[in-house]
Symmetry: C2
Subunit: 312 residues, 2 copies
């Protein structure tokens, strides 16, 4: 009788042998909706669509000057951290950024180095901030991706605008969304892990805390004592994994990819991802709600087994 | 720490709560290919398409007289058993039918009661027998189901013709195919179990044997001694489950449905199914090869766990 531990290892290995590739495949053109559903969404496989947004005016328009003119005076939410790590495990805490309301121009001043400020700035608010906070920019992109909306039979739940410092990092996590991540300028670098590698990914629960910049420019850590709720998160940094602490991670098989201006990444639901970017990179992403179907059901089984088989 | 046994129970229960219904849903019309892929194939959910084959000439044409005239002299493979159970566990054996070559007319004579013969007769050879053995009938149906072929992006691997005795039974099993089961006359009764109920379904391995009718009309059992290969099969009869022997089966939640002339059942890959029929029922089914993707990968995990957690 095989141990659950061994069964899970074979399962993850079989995923790579059966249907995952060693790198993220490229499509040359926006795909046919049915074909995309069948080849990528249903089998939960990522791909890069190389010419997916060539027709967006944003690609040529979104210079700092244009953005200053169009939305410079608008006030927007910005995440500020001392080190670029927002929503990440630091020590025994889940550290959240200071959320600062700033004019778009003043964020650009910092990113462009015209103004020196302590901390790492990242416009990353995932509340459909493109539609909610920056509707002036929607005509430069699209409010949804027509072939994806046709494939999924629904519109996106959120369209998010991302702009920030080259040191801003999105720590490893997963989302319950089918995600189309579109790069307008610069480059995003993704480290991806399939849901089937879940057995090798460590989780812990952490006390939430928030950064706050003091008058002297130092960041202090404020415990969220009002919230008793601890946050489950991945403590492992895939850029420098602590393999003594998390030896099972050796068995994970990450896919790395760069998504350049004009390209979009299809990041399937429940894939773990870690994101870095070039300085001043601008991106827009579309979150379509995932289906709570057999694949989700199976993933929940996997989650339970990772608990039931002890810390892996 | 939860036991694997408990985790599997919760998993199966969650499938019923999340996305399975208590009965097999009906569609009124042949569906749009993308919509069908998204709503039924990808989530691996069965449904009945009520007017899926109303345009097939077979529905009005396939009387015994017509079939006698068109293919009466053709020789076809027929499965003959003493009790209607072909490819089923009987005692400690996996019993296969006697495969008899007969003219189509003589099979009809027996089914219509014009000729008395011992045994239960069933044309059920799953080798694409409609296209291979009875090509004269193809124009009365279709060589494939256009919207399904578009949805799946491929043609069927096999198109099978079924005609037989009301006592012929297909024992509980699963196939690695997306199956469209089309009833031309009479009615088929299905008992379906989702792949996620696998933990409650007993399996054994059995010595294969074949029925053979002797000169005195009695059936003898011939061990397939040439083949050392034992057959893994489900010993449980869902019409009369032995709950003392297989107590876990109490937790299975079968869906039962009747598929009438003019209707087709979409029977998703890896669903367990048990089939009965009205006497003389005629059906055609289309087998499209399944994808060996994340759902298959997860099902293999489930299979391994059912082994790893002991006999369930």
């Amino acid at each position: 009788m095989k141990s659950v531990h061994k069964v899970l290892q074979e399962f993850s290995q079989e995923a790579h042998e059966l249907y995952l590739s060693r790198s993220v495949p490229n499509l040359l053109e926006p795909p046919d909706p049915l074909q995309f559903y069948r080849d990528w969404i249903s089998p939960n496989r990522p791909c890069i669509i190389q010419n997916g947004l060539r027709h967006w005016p944003a690609l040529s328009r979104w210079s700092p000057d244009y953005l200053r003119e169009k939305i410079g005076s608008k006030v927007i939410s910005v995440a500020v951290t001392p080190n670029g790590y927002a929503d990440a495990v630091v020590g025994d805490r889940f550290m959240m950024p200071e959320e600062r309301q700033m004019s778009f121009s003043s964020v650009l001043d910092i990113i462009e180095g015209k103004v020196q400020k302590g901390g790492v700035f990242y416009i990353q608010k995932q509340c459909s901030n493109l539609l909610q906070e920056l509707p002036e920019l929607v005509d430069d992109v699209e409010p949804h991706v027509p072939w994806m909306s046709t494939a999924l039979g629904k519109l996106p739940d959120a369209v998010n605008f991302w702009l920030g410092d080259g040191n801003a990092i999105t720590s490893m996590h997963k989302d319950p969304y089918e995600n189309l991540y579109c790069v307008i300028s610069g480059v995003k670098r993704f480290i991806l892990l399939p849901p089937t590698d879940r057995p090798f990914i460590p989780y812990g629960v952490y006390q939430p805390a928030v950064y706050h910049e003091q008058d002297n420019g130092e960041f202090e850590v404020i415990e969220k004592t009002d919230s008793q709720k601890q946050v489950p998160w991945i403590p492992l940094d895939p850029l420098d994994p602590d393999l003594d602490l998390y030896p099972e991670y050796r068995k994970a098989q990450p896919l790395c990819c760069s998504v350049k201006a004009g390209e979009m990444l299809y990041l399937p639901s429940l894939w773990f991802h870690h994101v870095q970017q070039s300085h001043g990179c601008i991106a827009v992403n579309f979150w379509y709600d995932m289906e709570y179907d057999i694949k989700y059901n199976y993933f929940q089984l996997l989650e339970s087994l990772c608990g039931a088989s002890g810390s892996m």
